[in-house]
């Protein structure tokens, strides 16, 4: 688990609530169709063979997935890998999943708790999106942040200096492993 020290206290709490939330309230008919959708998404994801993204359900709960994305080439995030958690609501895909960074990510649109500010995960969500497109969107968000509405102001300010930013990313990324 590559987790930045400061975030460790929060992440387990967040994931455990995410895990428990969908199961008890699931209606049989609804969860059945969500199940089918998630299963076929998993199949599509495994067949697509996209490089740099992957996701798989947690052991006993298909409503809770763990995903990984790698930083794209020629960005300051090149060579880094990030773990994410995806918690699907019962009315998925009509409502977006809750996606969070589990690995600390120094990014203008990611806050210290791993919350992501991405329009397609909020008001621009469409039921035509799936795990694959979400992960690809987040991957491209890494290289093209939206500086105008930052969650991490420090990162937003530093973004203009790509060399310094790169050093900061490497420093924070290596910190928990060292």
């Amino acid at each position: 688990m590559a987790t930045v020290n400061g975030y460790q206290g929060n992440t387990p709490v967040a994931t455990s609530t995410g895990t428990k939330q969908p199961a008890p309230t699931a209606k049989t008919v609804d969860s059945q169709s969500v199940l089918k959708r998630l299963q076929s998404e998993l199949m599509a994801l495994m067949m697509s063979g996209d490089s740099g993204i992957s996701a798989f359900p947690e052991e006993d709960n298909i409503f809770c997935w763990k995903g990984t994305i790698t930083g794209s080439k020629d960005t300051v995030f090149e060579g880094t890998e990030y773990r994410l958690s995806l918690a699907f609501p019962n009315d998925y895909p009509f409502k977006p999943p809750k996606v969070k960074f589990e690995t600390g990510c120094f990014h203008p649109n990611v806050d210290v708790y791993g919350n992501i500010c991405l329009d397609i995960l909020q008001d621009k969500w469409s039921s035509a999106y799936d795990v694959r497109t979400i992960l690809l969107s987040i991957q491209s968000l890494l290289g093209e942040p939206n500086i105008s509405s930052p969650l991490n102001t420090q990162a937003a300010q530093l973004w203009s200096n790509q060399e310094e930013y790169r050093k900061m990313v490497e420093k924070l990324y290596k910190a928990p492993n060292a």
Binding site: S40, M47, S48, S127
Partner: protein
Amino acid sequence: MDSDSINNASSTSVHNGKDFSRKKRRSAKLKQCKLDARREQWLSQSVVKNKVCCKAGTNGGDSKRTPRGERDSSLENLEMRRRGEANGGGENGSVQHESDSESLPSNSPTSSLLLGGTGSGTSFTNSSSGSTSSGGCCSGSITEEEGDDGCLDDWEAVADALAADDDKQEMERNENYRENLCSGSTPEHEPNPQLGLNGARSDLRNSKPECQRTVQMATGTSRAWRVDDAFRPQTLPNLSKQRSFPATDRHFGQGGVSWVRSSAFSPPSSCPICCEDLDFTDSSFLPCLCGFRLCLFCHKRILEDDGRCPGCRKAYEHDPMEAEASIQGGSMTFRLARSCSMIARS
């Protein structure tokens, strides 16, 4: 739409296969009786006919040698086939279809032609058109010698396939009718470039309007018979191989490909939102101008929610809802027509 029509075609063929085997079992005794009767008839005439047979054989050899004669015979074949078509109403496709679904190459008219060579061209037409008439008694006897079961199975298959083809054509007619209703469905007729040759061909054939389709098939087969006499024995076995397992081939071969493809390019076989299979009504349901398709359940669900198309995020307009109603009407008439035809037949 094309995927849907494929489904329909495969389902009907499966149904036909079942039906056919049942009929076959039932009429096995009847067949045997007829066979015996005909053999007796033939034996009683054989003394006279043997001479004629020999003569015919030499004639056939002559015609084989001279190109003009061959042409004539092939033309005759064609003409006889045409007549058979006029009688049976597009039996060309149905004969192939039936024999393929049975997947017994020895029964198919194709292989009998190949085995018999050029001389027995007439015998083939007789056996396939199912009318062992008095005129073709000589060639008819040849077919009987070749394989009694094969000959009988052929005309039995023709009879069955005729009914099946009628059914299919009717379904397609209804489909066309519904397509006309749903005016915005033009892009779905585009042959998909990503499909293989087989897939593209069957797609084309399935998605084309009915009249074009029959014409296409008729010309295709007639050409095949002529060329196949001596030059290309490969094409027909390929054809039968291509269509020999309609259900499995289409589902796993083509279905797999279309599944990997994004649903945006071609009409999906399953709803992209709930991943349930699209039924007949769903697949002709085009709620948004952007072309994003989904099942009626998910559409209703979205209308209750924010009412925006998942494909383009624009709000659904009211016009497509009227289109939906008319489509539903179309499907109702379709169902009625089918049940009527079933009653009329049985």
